[in-house]
Symmetry: C2
Subunit: 229 residues, 2 copies
């Protein structure tokens, strides 16, 4: 089977997906991972999201999934948290089965035994409650920053982190903001709910463990590809 | 326009192409590079090459070019030197116009004013004379290692460099081998004629300038994409 990746959202995490998947697949099988990556226009996506045009986002991603299917992919994933806002609609209309970063992350958080998860991500991800409802099904509480802090966290991601640039001043502010919620709302883990945050935040930067959503997703995709090869 | 990359040959240089193209395109346009990457089975390709089955290699690459075309690409390139052995046949049968790493490298060598170029690459690349005839058209002499040294250089590339692993002992032997040809045959530059060699050899490692074929190719593709966007 050949796996398809909707990439470019942002480019830095697409590199992590390709690197991680090819290495994990090679280590397990001694073979080359059959992959196709369609790298889409991140700014077209964020423009639609800013206007609240979720149908537009759905169509943008569907068009990429159709490209991946035409190129021979038989299953796919989006190398990004944000477009998972329209995941349920995508599942209904996608030509390919999809592996969700949110589902895999929730399973991981449950397996690790965390109970109160601080959610960090783009404003779109945090405001939409992308992680809150799915986590609730597992009896896990999502701790979400207030609107002012959402805007602050978002400003660290766009445009710098999305282009692979880590600003040390931004990092200090990110740590201070996260630590305030960890202390006040007793979060026992921090979900790096944007695939670019791990460029800035590493395990040990916070006083609680971090959940690298991109890493969890890559592991799940590699396992799926190896099982179904 | 959307550009297609035949990738996976090997995976490490596909990362360089994606990273280089997205960054150069963003710096020039402020936009996301429209790219699709089809990552093929490197071992299928080298297996066919070892049997001398050039028609098999041509078909393998054509099938990938058809995938890229189906996914919306309107021009393409192979992120590797070796399959350029069948480039002329590919041009005749490809659904997409192709940008050659060999043509771009020859133009670069001429522009730099080099006269005698040491060619380092896979055994397939060195034995086939991939660079000798094109360089001759520009009046530039290709210096090629003897059969024993070809096998040695090839052994540094497969399997370690192709999987992104740099062995320091191999590097010492690579430098010693190259310097022997530079001294004896008066080469005035060294062509890193395999897209993975730049993982090991950097400017300054040899007593003559190096020509990073992947870097030259990426620059040419970025320029083409920006001009035709």
């Amino acid at each position: 089977m050949k796996f398809g990746i909707v990439g470019g959202i942002g480019p830095a995490s697409t590199l992590d997906y390709y690197d991680g998947l090819t290495k994990k697949y090679y280590d397990a099988t001694g073979e080359c991972a059959p992959l196709v990556i369609d790298s889409i226009n991140m700014y077209a996506m964020t423009g639609l999201l800013s206007k609240g045009d979720n149908e537009g986002v759905t169509r943008l991603i569907l068009s990429s999934l159709e490209n991946l299917s035409a190129a021979g992919a038989t299953a796919a994933a989006m190398a990004s948290n944000t477009p998972h806002i329209v995941f349920d609609e995508l599942v209904k209309r996608s030509p390919l089965p999809l592996l969700s970063i949110v589902d895999e992350t929730c399973k991981y958080i449950e397996k690790m035994g965390f109970r109160r998860a601080l959610i960090l991500g783009t404003e779109f991800t945090m405001k939409s409650g992308l992680y809150s409802a799915p986590l609730e099904k597992y009896g896990i509480k999502a701790v979400t920053p207030n609107e002012k802090d959402m805007a602050l966290v978002h400003s660290f991601i766009f445009p710098k982190l999305e282009n692979g640039i880590v600003d040390e001043e931004d990092k200090k502010k990110m740590v201070a903001t996260a630590e305030r919620y960890i202390a006040e709302q007793k979060a026992d883990c921090a979900v790096l709910g944007c695939t670019e945050i791990p460029l800035m935040i590493h395990e040990g930067d916070f006083t609680v463990p971090t959940v690298n959503t991109a890493g969890v997703h890559i592991d799940a995709i590699a396992e799926f590809m190896i099982k179904n090869r």
